[in-house]
Symmetry: C2
Subunit: 352 residues, 2 copies
């Protein structure tokens, strides 16, 4: 999100502004806070496609009723460590933050929690939620299903979601946080190339006829491709089974495209939270994780690489820097946010 | 395992022979049964590198005491849904079968079980164990850590294990079973190329100096490479944290190589089992999984592909065929098994 000339906005200031916008859109206080936290955390982690850039399209969906502003969040069932939740068609960030809080409580009681969620929406950067759990001493695994947008291995048609997932493991310095989708690249990279009018490398997508393409617009109409062939494809199938078929949410072709505002999307999540304290002495175990990632991070780098980074490290470095320096909001986004703030009667001084 | 001329051995006959061999080596009845089941299942699934071919090297390790023939299997702690197990340095197949049984019991009680295991050994094909759980109506996720044999993304030195993992999800026809290691190919493929004196493709391994190599012998001395760069590398880091650092087992460089018989290997496992019945009506949910995989399997295949296969499908087809036709034991392996049987006084008529 950097653009020469624009002044960085201090994070607390940007956060207050985002909370005010979301409150003005009708979100209850806690929901506005949770959404602001998730969006800004995505920017801090360098995942700006899932950051405050999402506010204008989210505002449009909240205002036309495609997403519920004050969703009824319900625990449909609780069987020991397993909970089935209904997100009431709220913003994915709201539903996921609630689901993580619920699961952390269950895990504190029973050592572990498995939670499925239906009637949710796109939740942005999954790593924000798993990291939050890891910072409370929890191992966390979170999956979100998506519309069938990817050709499975051996296929030529979008028939499986690229179903992103994230793992986080507590450590002393920063949590290990892995955040992947099962496609060769996140779909947002193809969106970005289409916006910029740039070609995409072969191996990212098929056109609507099932042929490899370097045209991002055709790729968006066709299917993205899995990473590592049958490995990424197989992971996508499993993640969709967990977050879609087994959660009671919509799955596959039944998930409406993002551009279809007429129907609820009914996305699903699958969540595992494990309290490290149930696995042994947490100090000792977290020390072991530190030793483990230290061994990897301290190993000999490849030519031209300064050091081997473990998952979550680059985002942590970036997060620390931006928390000190502020976040640069690009001019186009700032203009869109100002227009939205004007309509809602929210002061936009944070962006000046 | 096919070789022209050799007659296939009916599976029940081969199984009895393997149980007899293992019993003669000192394994208690249940342990011999579990190991035979796992080895033969690997052959049935087309993973012959983890099949009965392992009996001669396992016999060597059991006889010189490097692996315990009658391990003491202990539940070190149980905190709600979370168990910490000690495999007593038994065969990985013995320890894993026990850990799955334990976890299925906990999941029947509490909906889900998270189990870590230390003091185990190589457990062969992970899919055999996750599939067994899926056939009891359980979602199963199993990880095994390995010695640091892979260069992480950005690295040139073996510093992370290729830490295989498996997911299985119950379905009506056959369970969805994904069984992956985090390297571009399973290390056993490089072993096989070395045995055959064939070169390996670039992208599989680095030589001991950290340069790409096509020589399988140099690759085995150096490091294997992750699939899909930072994605496979990141998954390996996480899987090693779950199965190694958090289980209390050895991890990274502390895991002795397979060729070192002087020390216990102390491998670790991480296991998640979720009872589908805790997620909702199991008939309905399993029907949804069937619908989901049916949508994927029924999608348009790529040119030259007959149909899109979902994870576990190819192994299921093969398993059904071999259960009917029998397993062909290659001549070299049959000779090694006969020699072992002779030493142990076990009749080897099954191989005739």
């Amino acid at each position: 999100m950097s653009r020469p000339g624009a002044a960085p906005v201090p994070v607390p200031r940007l956060r207050s502004f985002v909370v005010s916008l979301l409150s003005a859109l009708g979100l209850p206080e806690q929901h506005a806070q949770d959404t602001a936290t998730a969006l800004i955390d995505a920017d801090l982690a360098g995942r700006s496609t899932h950051g405050v850039r999402l506010l204008p399209p989210y505002a449009a969906r909240l205002r036309d009723g495609a997403i519920a502003t004050a969703p009824r969040l319900r625990v449909l069932s609780r069987t020991g460590a397993v909970s089935v939740l209904d997100g009431g068609n709220g913003l994915g960030q709201v539903v996921a933050a609630w689901a993580v809080r619920h699961s952390v409580e269950v895990a504190r009681e029973l050592g572990a929690a498995v939670t499925t969620v239906r009637r949710s929406n796109h939740l942005g950067a999954l790593g924000s939620f798993t990291r939050a759990a890891a910072e409370q001493g929890m191992v966390c695994f979170l999956v979100q299903n998506t519309r069938a947008n990817m050709a499975p291995a051996g296929g030529r048609q979008a028939a499986v979601g690229n179903n992103p997932f994230s793992f986080a493991v507590p450590a002393r310095g920063f949590p290990v946080v892995l955040d992947l989708s099962c496609s060769a690249v996140a779909r947002s990279n193809i969106d970005l190339a289409a916006e910029r009018g740039e070609p995409i490398p072969e191996g990212w997508a098929l056109d609507p006829d099932g042929h490899p393409t370097t045209d991002p617009r055709l790729g968006l109409l066709g299917a993205v491709l899995p990473f590592a062939g049958h490995k990424g494809s197989g992971l996508a199938v499993v993640m969709g089974a967990l977050a879609g078929a087994l959660s009671g949410a919509a799955f596959g072709a039944a998930v409406p495209p993002l551009s279809d505002y007429s129907r609820e999307r009914d996305l699903g999540h699958f969540l595992l939270v494990v309290d490290v304290a149930a696995l042994g002495d947490p100090e000792e175990l977290i020390g072991r994780v530190d030793g483990y990632v230290g061994e990897i991070g301290g190993s000999a780098p490849a030519p031209g690489v300064d050091r081997v980074r473990v998952p979550g490290e680059a985002a942590d470095v970036r997060r620390r820097a931006l928390l000190a320096e502020g976040i640069v909001v690009p001019a186009g986004l700032a203009a869109a946010l100002r227009a939205l703030a004007d309509e809602l009667g929210v002061p936009a001084g944070a962006l000046d």
